[in-house]
Structures are given as C-alpha cells and as structure tokens.
C-alpha cells in the first residue's frame, strides 16, 4: 500500500500570491495514493522541514511530494530531510509550482489548476519510484589548474598549501598572465610586478606545484575524482635543465617580430623570454619565425649557447595524467576595438588600448616607462581616455559592463599626471562605476588632481596637423566637445578567450552567450560548475579585477581542498541501467552516449535447452552522468534511467495530458 504525503509550499507570497495554495492542497488530497497533505509558509525553513519529518513518522509516509520551487533549488534540502526521517531520499519528488507556475503567471484562476496538474504529475511519478542507493568512488588527490595567470597561481598555491599536488598548465612560455603586463594596480598603486612576481616564484618553488608552460589541455574525460587528461607540452627547443638563462642566445638572434607581451608596441626575438621575470626563466624558440625552422639556416643560438641547451630536435610531449579536480583559470582577452571605425584604431597609431598604455607606462615596456606616442615618440601633453569601448554597447560590442575599466582609467589618469607633470587628461564616460573598497576614493583622487571627466560618447577621432581631434558630446552640458589630443586611450572591453567555447566543451561545462564560463549558481555556487569536480577562477567566468579574481581563485581552491579531504565520493544513483533480458545488443546507446559510459558486454545465458552467448550493453556507473540519451535511443526499451524510468515518465505524461 503506497502512502504519499504532499507538502504544498506558499514560499511567502512567491507562490501563494498567484496560486491558491489551499485549493492545491485540497485537490492533492483527492489524488490516489495520497494519504496526507500539508501547507507551509516556507517549507524549506527549519519548522517546515520538521513538519515533513513528523508527518513521515506519524502517517507512515513512504513517498513524499514537495510542491514548491525548482528541484535545482531545494531538492537536496528535502531529500536530506526525508533521509533524516528514515525515508530513502530518492522517494522524494519535487513539484515545481514556483518557477514553472506562479512566477510565470499572473492570473490565479489559470495558475491554480496548472499547479494542481503539476502536483498530479509528481504524485504519478513518485508512486513508481523505488529506493536508490548511491555508491562510492575513490578520489585522485591531484588538481589540474588550467591557466597560469594570477587566478591559476593563487588557486594552485592554496591547494598546494593544503598538502595536495597541483599541476598548472599554461600555454604561454611563462606564467603570470595579464597581470604581468600591468604597471601599477588600483586603488593602492602598488606595482603589479612587485606583488605578482614573488607569487610566481612561490609557485615555481613550491614542492607541491608542477608548472607546465607552452602546454595545453587536449582532452579531458572521466568524472569528478577521476579525470583522465591528455596534455600537450609543445617543444620549447630548449633543454630547461641545462639552460642557465644567460641570455646570450637572445642577444645574438637575428630574427624578430612584434612582442605579444608588449601588445605589439615593441619587438622580441625568435628565441625569447616574454619578460625578464618570466617563470620558468628559460627562453623559448618561436618556430614560426626562427630561421632554423623556416629556412633551415642559422642556428646561431645553438652555437653561442655556453651550456648546450638549445635543442632544435626537441619534440612535443603528450602526457596522459589523472586528476581528481580541475580549476579553469583560462582568463580573458581584449575586445577588438577595430569594430569602432570612428575611433580609427589601427589607422591612427596614436589611438591605443588600455593594455597598450600599461606597456608604455611600465618600466619593462618598450619605452622604458616613458609614456611616448607610438607614432613619433613624442611625450603626449593631452591624453583622451574613452571608456566602454565594446562594453555596454549592444550595437558594436557587448551589453555587459567590463567592470575594471572605470578604475584602471582613473589609474591611468593619475599615472599620466605623475609621469608627465602638467599633462592634461580627459575621460569620456557613460557612468563611473566605482563600487569596491577604496574605489570611489580613488576615482575622486583622479578628479582632484585635475582629470576632466566628460559625460558622453565620442563620435569621431581624426588626425589633423599631428594632433588627434576628438569630437564628442558632453551630455551634461548638452554641447559638442572637441579636444585636441596627442594620444587617445580606449578602455577596451574584457571579452572571453576566442577558444573559450572549445575549452568549455573539453571540460563539459556550459558558457553564456558571450563565452564566459557559467557558474552553477550566480549567488550560492559562484565557483562551481554544473560538472562536478570542475571549478572556475578569474575572468574566464566574467569580467573581474585583481582582488575579485584572487578571492575567487582562493574560493575555488577551497572547493578542491574540501573535495580532496574526503577519502571517497558518493555517486549519484540516477544512472542508466540495462534490462539485459530486453537488450538486443544493437549498441545504439554506445553511439549516443556523450560520456563513453556504455560498453559492450558478452553474456552467456540459457535459452530453452541451449546455451546462448550474445552481447548486451553495459553501463559504467562511474562515467554515466544520467543524461538519458541512451534511454531515448534504445529501440527495445531496455535502457532505463534510474529515478527517471520510462514507466515513470509515461506516468507523468499521462497525469498531465489525460
């Protein structure tokens, strides 16, 4: 005899405002199998959960339906609650009458019957639920951090400090990321290198951290606690063990190209270190331009190297490794400001981006820290800054706010006045967003030293007699403005890496419409993803400044540490299962399974008087993620997803449609 309890939640006025909860309770009581119905203002609260526990005992309930919010919100809450009352937690079913009903309707006379239908569906399903039991899997206590910027470095240091092994995979020849390119940091104006390079050294010298530069993740398979990762370590053409970083090879190399680290404002050699503080402090040969590789000639670096470290024959290495958790810290890049034809970036050399200005200010940059115009090397007297280039602009860029630009523009204005006394700075802005500790004060400071903030957009920039004429609008005065500038700096939006979607596919995680990786919950699970064991840190998840990036990286590290602190993991029992007696062995399910969780199995069985050997599908429950693709593909109906069996789904359809 099935005894179902239905608990209808008001969710304050979230549900009760649009749905007649009393009526839903009344109708639920009439449903076959339902022996007990209750209403609660907030079922998820402590007293609400208590009433469920009490009802399970008093009314000997063996199934529970909670008519409340989305299962993504509170299914776990109610499962745990039922379990504490001795009920198998998989005998709890959610009826989502909030997101699916009350929130999307305004008319109670429509919403109430719909809520009743939703409860009827849940009752029909739970009636066919059976107790399920999770199993356990071991955890490989090694973490993979993808990306060696400040986010990756911080996460790796925190995880390693807790005593677990970490591997940082960085595709550039050095770790450090974007932060290494910056000169000073807001709002304290401490030098970026002075706070970053010690951390880079810490990471490099930490016994628990292994750094793989010039390396990329090629493939990830497996599941939380047991990821199989294929890494490619591109040939550096340098024997790192022998190289003493003396730098003779670099000084003698005859080939050069625009330096990526200096945003194309300077050059680097074919054998190069991106910047003097690079970690590892070893040069790399760029095979695309190295004459030895392009023309088969040269080899001067090999000749001059006193320690014989140059190795042209070095090959890419492919490493197959196992990790228990992955932190994605792949960072962001800069919006292509060429999209704004009216600003003339690319046509006028003195229109540059914020990152380019960082390199011009930096003492390790192409001008040794003197701000000089790219066109003629003159010191600019008047600089115009334009904010929101690519951000907050759906027409040419992205609708989101890039968050860091208001502050770094204030910083640029302050640094400009420090470096060039008497220089004037104009900032064209839409709004100044200075939310953050000491940020508003910092912005005020930039104003106090005489930076002129002009609220409005720039419509055109054109060169005239060695100056850049910046035409714009001051929307506060309602007037056209024209500034004769020597240099124009565009605050380019922070945008996802071009290959972010590809990385997301490798990781099996989702990303938003722009390409930023999606967190599991925007407020309550900000560093987790929807794939267990994969965590997010830094700007790969959305635009951020350094403090926020570091905070998120440490948070991701904590998640990894708490995962590793367990000796084994409990698995979700909502996995596919094969009824071997029905399975015809066509193995269509194998083709559709995205997790490679289905294998062929040979079974021997008796059929009448004979013994028959045949193949059937077999599910690896460790790999199965419970997506259900196989159950749809199975033409025999032999494949069932536990917790969502074919029988249950048909019963739901019937309850809703008949």
């Amino acid at each position: 005899m099935i005894r179902i309890g239905v608990f209808v939640c008001w969710c304050g006025s979230n549900i009760a405002g649009t749905v007649d909860v009393g009526k839903v309770a009344e109708e639920s009581a009439k449903m076959p199998g339902v022996v007990h119905v209750e209403q609660n203002k907030y079922t998820c609260s402590d007293p609400g959960q208590d009433s469920i526990r009490k009802a399970i005992k008093e009314h000997r309930l063996d199934r529970v339906v909670v008519a409340a919010c989305s299962p993504r919100m509170h299914e776990m809450t109610f499962r745990k609650c039922a379990a504490s009352a001795g009920l198998n937690q998989y005998l709890v079913e959610m009826a989502n009458i909030r997101e699916h009903c009350s929130w999307v309707h305004s008319d109670m006379s429509v919403a109430t019957p719909k809520a009743v239908d939703i409860v009827r569906r849940a009752v029909a399903k739970v009636k066919r639920s059976v107790p399920l039991f999770p199993s356990t899997i071991p955890v490989e206590k090694r973490a993979l951090v993808i990306g060696g910027g400040i986010a990756g470095i911080q996460a790796a240091l925190d995880i390693a400090e807790a005593g677990y092994e970490v591997t940082i995979v960085e595709r550039e020849p050095t770790i450090g990321g974007r932060m290494a390119q910056l000169d000073k940091t807001f709002p304290t104006l401490d030098c970026s290198s002075c706070i970053l390079t010690p951390k880079m050294v810490d990471a490099a010298s930490h016994p628990g951290i292994r750094i793989l530069t010039c390396s990329e993740v090629e493939d990830i398979s497996g599941y939380v606690g047991n990821f199989q990762v294929r890494l490619r370590k591109r040939a550096r053409s340098i024997d790192e063990a022998r190289c003493t970083a003396c730098g003779i090879c670099i000084s003698k190399c005859p080939t050069s190209r625009d330096s990526e680290f200096n945003m194309g404002l300077g050059t680097r050699k074919a054998i190069y270190m991106p910047f003097p503080q690079a970690v590892p402090n070893k040069p790399t040969i760029d095979r695309e331009i190295c004459r030895h590789f392009t023309e088969g000639k040269c080899g001067i670096c090999q000749k001059v190297c006193p320690s014989g470290a140059v190795d042209f024959s070095q090959e890419d290495q492919v490493l197959n490794e196992k990790f228990g958790a992955v932190v994605a810290a792949t960072g962001a890049t800069q919006f292509s400001v060429e999209a704004y034809g009216e600003y003339g970036y690319g046509r006028y050399p003195d229109v540059i981006t914020g990152l380019e200005l960082e390199r011009l200010i930096s003492s390790t940059g192409p001008t040794d820290g003197k701000i000089r115009r790219p066109s003629d090397g003159r010191i600019p007297r008047t600089v115009v800054f334009i904010k929101c280039v690519g951000s907050r602009d759906e027409n040419k860029g992205y609708p989101y706010c890039s968050k860091a630009c208001c502050m770094y523009t204030a910083k640029h204005a302050i640094l400009l006045k420090e470096k060039i006394p008497g220089a004037s700075a104009y900032v064209f802005y839409m709004d100044v967003r200075a939310g953050g500790k000491d940020y508003e004060e910092f912005y005020q400071r930039s104003q106090e030293i005489g930076t002129r903030y002009v609220r409005g957009r720039v419509s055109r920039i054109y060169p005239l007699d060695g100056k850049l004429i910046v035409q714009g609008e001051d929307t506060l005065l309602g007037q056209r403005v024209e500034v004769e500038a020597d240099l124009v700096v565009l605050a380019a939006a922070m945008v996802p890496q071009i290959d972010a979607p590809e990385m997301a596919r490798k990781l099996g995680i989702s990303y938003n419409q722009y390409g930023f990786f999606s967190e599991a919950h925007p407020k309550l699970r900000p560093v987790e993803t929807n794939t267990a064991g994969v965590f997010l840190a830094g700007t790969c998840q959305g635009p951020k400044d350094i403090p926020e990036t570091v905070a998120q990286a440490s948070a991701a590290a904590v998640k990894v540490i708490s995962l590793f602190a367990k000796s084994e993991l409990t698995t979700n029992p909502n996995v596919a299962s094969v009824d071997e007696s029905l399975c015809s062995g066509c193995l269509w399910c194998m083709n559709v399974c995205p997790y490679k969780a289905i294998e062929e199995k040979i079974i021997t069985e008796r059929a009448g008087k004979e013994t028959v050997t045949r193949s059937v599908a077999s599910v690896n429950t460790g790999l199965c993620q419970g997506c259900g693709a196989c159950t749809v593909a199975c033409r025999d109906g032999a494949m069932n997803l536990l917790g969502f069996t074919n029988e249950q789904i048909l019963a739901e359809v019937e309850a809703l449609c008949l």
């Binding site: 704004y340 034809g341 009216e342 003339g344 055109r460 054109y462 060169p463 005239l464």
Partner: protein
C-alpha cells in the same frame, strides 16, 4: 536582365546633371535599364517625419512596380535609396505594417530584389571592369570622396559600405586614375535637411567639410548624393572653393564623354575650371 531606373524628383530638377551623367555612364557601360514607368514620389525628406505608414507606402508603390517588371530597382539618388531600402526592410520585417501598406496599395510584395544605389550597380559591374573602359585617365586629380549619411545610415538597411570607414567610392573613383585623398570627414553630416530652415548652421557645416577636404589635399569633392552636391556646391563659404562632382560625372569624363552631356557646365562652383587647368576637359 537589367535594372528598373528610378530617377526620383531631384534628378528631374536640381540634380539634372546627375541624371544626365548616370544615364550616360550606364549607356556607355552597356548596363541595361528602363526608367520605371509611372514612378511616384519616394516621400524623402518629408513623409518619414510625418507618418511612418505613409513613409513606407510611398516608396513601396515604386518597389511593387519594379517587382512587377521583375527587375531590381536602382536609383542614383541617395535619399531615394534610403527611403526605398527603408521601405523594403520594413515590409519584410514588420508583418503588421506590411499588411496595412499592401492592403492600401492593393498589391503584394515579395521583396525578391533589394533596391540598389547606382554605386551598387557599378560595383556589381566591377571596379576592374569599369577601369578597363576608361579612355581618359584623370591623372593628377586629387579627389575627396564624400559619402554623407544616406548611403550608410542607419546601417540596418542603408548598408552600402562600412558606416564609419567606407571605401567603396574611393575604389570606383580610383579606377579613373584620379587619386582619392585619405580624409576623415567623408561621412560627416552636410546638414542638407536644414538648408532652408537654418541656413547659417548649414553654411558652417558645408564650409567645414570643404575646408577639411582641401586641408587633406583634395582639389575637388566627389559625391553620390544630390542633397550633398547641392548643399556643398551652394553653401561653401571657405577661402578655397572646391568643385563638387557626382561620381558619374567623373566616370563619364574618364570614359571620354562630352562634359556638356554630363552636365558639368551647370554647377554653382565652376566645375570646368579645374578640369581645364588639368587638361582633362
């Protein structure tokens, strides 16, 4: 194949020379066209500031006529271009409005062909092919190509070229051997719509544009817009006077056609002086 030719009212009046030179160029290049029979006003400059339905209906009538001829509609006038494309866009993207307009006109419109500017047509013919027909190189002539607004804005439908940094007119003009100067004000507003109501403002805008062209080394301005041509030609008050040509006038000249046949003698700022000085006419 061929095109339905829509001159619009300007080309029958103030921009007569644009009509003459357009027809002369099309004839010379052997591009088939037929004047749209019974064409009516496109509604430019007034209808769209009064009534949106009317602003779509007026050009729609002409679009329908062309569709009935089974020919793409082509116009030299940029204001007509803007209105025709605006209507084409509205009829295809706003079913409610389309129903209203087409019911009023008692016809249907499939929108198989996008309405074109004569520059599109010359571009479809191909700048290289145009260049091959040039018999008289306009060497040493330094021109500032001026697009104005109607060919490029709004970019949702008036999308002849990149709205901020166009270059197609330059390519066409350079096939004649002339040199297109690099100047930043080719998409600046000339203020034509205020020409009568706020002449002072328009004089300052037009003078600025012409001055800028001169400062960047141009000896003349080339445009494809009757409004821009009339406005710049009439309203410039700078020290240096620059003649303002239609693209088709320069092309026609390079094809060796008679200046008179191209209407080059009817300009406000003497259009022949420069050409004579350069021994081009």
């Amino acid at each position: 194949m061929g095109y339905a030719y829509y001159p619009g009212c300007s080309l029958h009046g103030t921009a007569k020379e644009y009509d003459m030179s357009s027809r002369a160029c099309l004839d010379f290049l052997g591009i088939e066209y037929r004047e749209l029979p019974d064409w009516s006003c496109c509604g430019a400059s007034s209808a769209h500031s009064v009534d949106h339905t009317l602003a779509v209906s007026l050009p729609a009538r002409n679009l329908i006529l062309a569709e009935q001829m089974n020919l793409p509609l082509m116009t030299p006038c940029t204001a007509c271009y803007s209105r025709l494309r605006g209507a084409h866009h509205a009829l295809r993207s706003d079913p409610g409005l389309a129903r209203k307009v087409l019911t009023a006109l008692g016809s249907e419109y499939k929108g198989r062909y996008e309405p074109l500017s004569i520059l599109d047509v010359l571009y479809q013919y191909g700048p290289e092919a145009v260049g091959e027909k040039v018999t008289k190189k306009l060497k040493e002539l330094k021109v500032a190509c001026y697009y104005g607004c109607l060919l490029l804005r709004p970019p949702e439908y008036a999308d002849f070229d990149d709205p901020e940094n166009p270059g197609k007119m330059e390519r066409l003009v350079e096939t004649t051997g002339a040199r297109a100067v690099d100047w930043p004000h080719r998409t600046e507003c000339c203020g034509a719509s205020l020409s009568l109501s706020d002449t002072k403002l328009v004089v300052s805008l037009a003078t600025f544009i012409v001055d800028m062209a001169a400062r960047h080394g141009a000896e003349c301005i080339v445009t494809a817009c009757p409004m821009c041509q009339a406005n710049l030609d009439m309203r410039q008050r700078g020290r240096t006077k620059l003649p303002v040509y239609y693209v088709t006038e320069l092309l026609g000249l390079a094809f060796g056609l008679e200046p008179k046949r191209l209407g080059l003698t009817t300009h406000m700022v003497n259009a022949m002086g420069l050409l004579r000085a350069k021994q081009l006419a």
